[in-house]
């Protein structure tokens, strides 16, 4: 479904992603693991088109140069030069790291905006109801301002917003970051619900342990370079990987 080939991303002269090959097949949940500044966010933002947008912005300002090299294919089509909203139309929706939400809008309005590109209001409302089913705690917060919600609640809103956009490929950038074990369990449970909706998922995480049982395949990157990939079983059977990246 998603096929990233020889992806290289430079900020100025610093290499953030180095010759990365990665693929996601329809129906899979794929994890990308790596420590701080491994290039996870850069990868996700690139697939969602945000890096390209940033590149145009920087170019206009004549300042810092961002270079993106390599191929990004989605459902057999080259999307490297597509704008973020084109990619959302195609079904690639990103939930950014650190649960950014629209702070001054209510929870309900945030979810509404997730359906911005969907014409039929009925469909949007259906999706919103679905989100309330997946994240029951949000039901009570409908009219609260999102900026006043806790980090965990904001994560639910952020994932919910992405779901309302009806993704084919959902990108989750560190969905468990900074969440309590209870909240992590809710998000992990949501992941199972999302899989049952036949949404393909590509997610990143620093600590693989809580999410490991729920992924099909994983990629491990370090300083922008892929150092290992394999199925869940292959990764779990490798003692070196287990100790270095999974904290076991």
């Amino acid at each position: 479904m998603l096929d990233v080939k020889n992806l290289m991303i430079f900020y100025e002269n610093a290499l953030a992603v180095n010759n990365l090959n990665l693929d996601v097949k329809k129906g899979e949940i794929v994890g990308v693991f790596g420590s701080n500044s491994a290039g996870k966010t850069t990868l996700m933002n690139t697939v969602a088109g945000l890096t390209l947008h940033m590149k145009f912005r920087e170019h206009r300002k004549g300042g810092q140069r961002i270079t993106i090299v390599g191929q990004q294919n989605f459902e057999g089509e080259d999307i490297s030069n597509r704008s973020p909203n084109d990619r959302v139309k195609k079904g690639i929706v990103l939930c950014r790291e650190r649960h950014p939400v629209f702070r001054d809008l209510s929870v309900e309005e945030n979810l509404q905006l997730g359906g911005f590109l969907i014409k039929e209001q009925v469909k949007v409302q259906e999706s919103i109801d679905l989100v309330y089913n997946i994240f029951p705690p949000l039901t009570k917060l409908k009219s609260r301002r999102a900026g006043l919600c806790s980090g965990g609640e904001q994560e639910m809103i952020a994932i919910g917003m992405a779901l309302v956009a009806r993704p084919k490929l959902l990108l989750l950038d560190e969905p468990l970051l900074g969440l309590s074990p209870v909240m992590q369990a809710i998000v992990v449970q949501a992941l199972k619900d999302i899989r049952s909706l036949e949404v393909t998922v590509l997610l990143t995480e620093q600590y693989a342990r809580p999410i490991m049982p729920h992924i099909d395949r994983g990629f491990i990157i370090e300083n922008g370079t892929l150092i290992m990939s394999g199925t869940k079983e292959e990764l779990m059977d490798n003692p070196e990987v287990m100790s270095a990246y999974f904290g076991m």
Binding site: L50, N85, P100, D104, L105, Q112, L113, A165
Partner: protein
């Protein structure tokens, strides 16, 4: 005398609000201070004048004026501002230059004689609180209120309005759910233009259209926005009320030409004391203005 001060203070506040709303809205939604606001305002005035002179019925001329001025706003973003978007100083220079070009172009065309004026919507007057008020001024109050209500409805009850608010609050998250940032900015410039046109059609009939009004409108928009803070409609309304009444008080007790001094003093005092504005949440203003 108190009664008439109250009534005319309200009229003044409504006038200020109409004049500032477009500027402040574009600023709040796109982050670009559109210093060509005064030029756009006068463009709308002259456009309405010529459409009426061509013999179009009043209502049609007004609707056309609002529509065309909105397109002008959009074009200013699409053709010029888009190239410097994000570089604040260049945005200011570009929009300021456009505004001055428009105003001085009108002067060059010779739009400075007494024939240039717009008709009242309704002639006549009535007495309220022992004060005589004409229909045009009372309509200005009504329209200012209607626009405030419309704005609230638009930004909280329509998909487009919500999307514009979202883009203003978190650009990258908005992009991630498929809202296009240039679309949003173009839209907010268009609304700014439409509001300038509404203001022009309502307020210009009170006098003769002249070029300096363009500069004055810019000053007013700036004063109201600085005082009211960004993105806060309540702050905007409060700022208009404060400035509106301050004007009435100074012109009653001093002289009418103290009006401009009120704006200037308001800008200076707010920038020195509370740069984010009365109810403003952001401190961006000090960097921008």
């Amino acid at each position: 005398m108190i009664e008439s001060m109250l009534v005319f203070g309200l009229v003044n506040s409504a006038v200020l609000m109409l004049l500032a709303l477009g500027f402040s809205l574009t600023f709040g939604l796109s982050g670009v201070a559109n210093f060509s606001h005064g030029g756009i305002y006068l463009f709308a005035g002259y456009l309405a004048y010529f459409l009426l002179k061509m013999g179009l019925p009043y209502f049609i001329a007004v609707v056309l004026t609002i529509f065309i001025t909105a397109l002008l706003g959009a074009a200013i973003y699409k053709l010029i501002v888009i190239r410097v978007r994000g570089i604040v100083l260049n945005e200011v220079i570009a929009t300021f230059a456009i505004g001055i070009c428009m105003l001085e172009f009108f002067r060059w065309l010779g739009f400075v004689t007494y024939e240039y004026s717009l008709p009242y919507i309704a002639r006549g007057r009535f007495t309220i609180f022992e004060t005589t008020l004409d229909y045009q001024r009372s309509l200005i109050i009504v329209v200012a209120l209607l626009l405030a209500v419309f704005l609230w409805f638009f930004t909280h009850r329509t998909k487009t309005g919500l999307a514009l608010l979202g883009m203003a609050q978190d650009e990258y998250t908005a992009l991630a759910v498929g809202i296009d940032s240039d679309w949003a900015a173009t839209y907010s410039f268009a609304i700014g233009g439409a509001f300038a046109a509404i203001a022009a059609v309502m307020i210009l009939p009170l006098g003769i259209i002249n070029i300096n009004i363009g500069y004055e409108v810019l000053l007013i928009a700036l004063a109201v926005t600085v005082l009211g803070g960004l993105e806060s409609t309540k702050g905007l309304i409060l700022a208009c009320i404060i400035l509106g009444y301050a004007q009435v008080i100074t012109s009653t007790f001093f002289a009418p030409h103290w009006k401009e001094a009120v704006y200037l003093a308001a800008i200076l005092i707010v920038l020195a004391v509370k740069p984010s504005g009365l109810l403003g949440k952001f401190k961006e203003l000090e960097e921008r203005v």
